[in-house]
Symmetry: D5
Subunit: 147 residues, 10 copies
């Protein structure tokens, strides 16, 4: 079974069983962001994690095996997403991307923030004027190699 097909089977099972992403992250023993991205087909799952999730979602062995394979990543469908929530993330890159480039180079020198050795968290920030979505990201700084 190809990974794309497994992703659809999982989506159906999750809805049918009424599991939240947070519950599945609890079962996986991993963070909600990582677990959700893995179940949306963006990460390869370690065997034990895949099996715990598979049991919770009542998945066939074939689907569990597919979860362990490296998927073809990238889920926007379009180069620029049309969904407003997704577009705002793209807009942040448009408006603040060159700023981050300047500040990271000023602090660290030439290199990048890794998107592989990378971690992300989402939480609710209570605010009397309206609660806020807080995202925290950190990735290893990788300096350019000179040879």
């Amino acid at each position: 079974m190809e990974r794309e097909e497994a992703t659809e089977v999982i989506a159906d099972a999750r809805l049918r069983l009424g599991k939240t992403w947070a519950e599945l992250a609890g079962v996986a023993g991993r963070s909600p962001v990582w677990t959700t991205s893995a179940l949306l087909g963006q990460q390869a799952m370690p065997t034990d994690v895949a099996e715990r999730v598979g049991a919770a979602l009542d998945l066939d062995d074939e689907v569990v095996r597919a979860l362990e394979r490296s998927p073809s990543k990238g889920a926007l469908g379009d180069v620029i997403p049309t969904d407003p929530l997704l577009y705002r993330l793209y807009e942040i890159v448009q408006v603040y991307g060159t700023t981050l480039k300047e500040l990271i180079h000023e602090e660290f020198g030439d290199g990048i923030m890794s998107a592989i050795d990378f971690e992300m968290d989402m939480e609710r920030l209570p605010d009397p004027k309206g609660d806020r979505v807080k995202l925290t990201l950190h990735g290893k700084f990788l300096p350019y190699r000179v040879w």
Copy 2:
């Protein structure tokens, strides 16, 4: 003077005078991310901030006035950036965007994280295996209006 032209004048002045973005943020009395994005042509500056920055960078009055106007925002040049540091930010949207959509909807219901009533910070996270770039973002959750 159009805003784009002002942005170039500022870039030249900053390099000539050897000011860091952090120093300019100190002069502005605002955060480094906001100040840098404003000087890169992505924000309108309040008059007093524009004047303090203008003095520090030895800018003509015409340039200072341009800093106060609302710019045409979006700085990537291309739809998908080719610069590796910028591309990694785009890749994070590709790989983790749908995950954030699921988790934000699960926590808040239908709506978005605002990219306007929005704040971002960059800092160095010391790590024995190699220091990390940490980004913190928060934007107001805006629920879809039903009418």
Copy 3:
């Protein structure tokens, strides 16, 4: 059941039962624009609304549940729509977009008109030279946050 599939089931049911969008808006107790956009897969419906509409269209429970979930929004299919009615809306953005940008900034300062905390209405404007389509939109002005 994924939301896209639900949208198709609803389209078929509406045609088969001969319901107008206006009638469905009456059943929903919401405006025609909001109700139609929700049934075309662009809004999450509150449970009670979804159930009233579900009863009127004779929908399975699975479809009603799908109506309550946040859809992946954006319905043009192409970046630039080819349908003449839709294209005229795009053309208005091409021809009057920068004008609105100037006038909104002149009136409100730097910021945007929200497309989330947003409302829209369509009505017929009788005119002896030929009736006119009138659209009224209003969205909350969101000023850029300075930090």
Copy 4:
């Protein structure tokens, strides 16, 4: 003088003389939306209007003549605008476009809302939770000809 060049001359004159768009609309004796769009190069100005505006902005005769010619319209630069204010207008077409298509056809039959025999207004809608931007548009309904 080509129209594009005239548009730049006007932008410079307006900034130098510190005129608001509203003031220029007053001089023109036309609405702010129409006047601004004409000065941004999206409309041909009647001779008397062009001359009044030319006097107010101290323009050469050559520029005034250019204002009377039909420009090549369309001002976004990119197919999808990156500026957040402009993008929200595009997003409204993405999210509500097919809804308007359904409702206009239901009310008027097959045809379109004209973007030529068309009028638009922008005003501030006071609101205790935050003032709102209100846009009103109306265009002649044009039924498809059958022959």
Copy 5:
């Protein structure tokens, strides 16, 4: 039944029954261009026309009803057509488009030729050096509204 599906049913029926487009236009009591474009999914048919065509092509009632609805128009598939006959039409717009813009503005002032209140005819023009395809188009001139 969605309109796209109806278009395919009609194409199959026409081929199976061996009807020419000209014969179907005769049945419809409309011009060949309009009738063909309607049967290719680009026009909404008045009820009586749809029923006469439905009888001639032996169509189910559901298909006849679909013919009466407003379709999502635009049939090229790609932005630039690859089929040589279709491409020549696009090339005419590339080579003569700006010419028509100049001449229409010179004759009529600022405005457009409507593509909605519009009619088109195709005929054979006998010519000893090789017969020619003659296309005649006319659309209402719509002047830009000034307000």
Copy 6:
């Protein structure tokens, strides 16, 4: 002098001398459509025509020579034009293109209408409900060669 440069020189001269396209076509002794397209850089002019037009517009010999050379044709700038008048021409190809393909094949067999051995005319069609723009095109039918 490259042809693109010559086109700009001609545009300036025409505006400065206040010549209409119709007058220039009279001088050229050719139709307005052909003459205008040649002066907009889409045709090579025969020597005698180029010289008559050159005299009327007071052009240098170098510009006259450039008018005689084959230009790189295609004047839209963008794949899809944003100017409303030009876009309507593109929309006609989108909505009626496949119809013309069917009707031309039905009448002539497999082949195309030439856009090279081609002629076009624009005239005003008086109409009590509003005058109409009439376009007449004819191109040689070219059957596909079979070998």
Copy 7:
């Protein structure tokens, strides 16, 4: 049966029966390039040719009829082909296209080489350093009409 479907049926039949393109060209009594392009859905076949090929490939009458209709031409799928053999053809247009434009205009004046009244041949050119692929093309020169 639509032409696209017929093309697939033919491809399957050719592989199942083990016929080469050269053999099918012999059956058709036409050149290999023309016959192959027709069987790949890029030409309309005369009735007698379609019937001979139909017999050789054991095709249903419905498929034979489809071969006689004018197909929607253009087979690359993408604007720029990714297949290396196909890309080299595109690259020749990129590298030598403007050269051919100059030389054809120098020899023939303003006009084009027809791609409709056109013939092409492919043969093996023996060469001790490695055999070569030889392509010969000729198309009627079509001068631009002046009117």
Copy 8:
């Protein structure tokens, strides 16, 4: 001097001195196609050829040196050319590309026709029905390496 600049200098010199491409090919002692493509910036010229051409066109030494360097090749400007003569070449790839792929593989096996070890010629083919443009191309067949 960069190669692009040299190409412009050469184009101006050729027009000013009234040299044909054929004459320059004679001076170069190479074929017209190769010589023209080199002068249009698509080939590196051997020193002796560059010097003969430089003398004939009265070029500075700096320009002659630029002719000897490897240019960045590809001259269409756009992915799909809009010029009708150039487009016909692209159309031939669209319509006959997959045919050539089949026939070359049938004759030679898996591999490509080289566009580097490649030669092309253009000549006039007299024909009573209208002279024809004849193009002859041959490129080394390169089989895929298996390792």
Copy 9:
């Protein structure tokens, strides 16, 4: 059976039988890169290789025959891949492509590195700071032909 279908059958068989690419390369008697690319539909397999692989994967004769045919090559799906591993390869072309062009021309003169008469190897390079992926490529230098 078309090659694309064969590729899917092979992918399923490989997963079901639990064969690694390295094992299949051993069966094929060819390198892992070549064998994998052939099984992913990017190479034509010699008959004996196809049969050995077919036996190992328990493939039908029809699939084995498909493996021997020349496929339509190019597997990225998108012009720019979204998968991070694939994107890094594209990024290397963006960042180091013009460098390789300069160095190859400096060493070899005008020409290219063949991607057809080409070989590639992937191996693990042990490194105490973290093992490295090592890629070795070599392709025949092909000088441009001068004629």
Copy 10:
């Protein structure tokens, strides 16, 4: 001075002084690939390297300072390069990219080859059938972080 401008100054200086890339790499004390990519605007140079290169190319201090800053990387200009040498590199990604993805995952698990902690070399591989271009690349394997 912006980095892009510095790159042009360096290109001119190199040609004027007749330095090879290999000589400049010797002066820099770095590999030819890294040195060339830095001088083409794709790397930030350490101060001492920039100064040695600056002396060899007789560069102003302002240019030397620019060489030390992090450039905006990515040099293809177009998404898909048209230059044949550059395109072959892109083609290798198209044809062998998915193969490398499979083999790297099989050998290392889920992760990527870094294009930052990365090194590349180009050398001539003598071969009696024609010398070959050999490229060697190695990048650190970065496993996806699980959290």
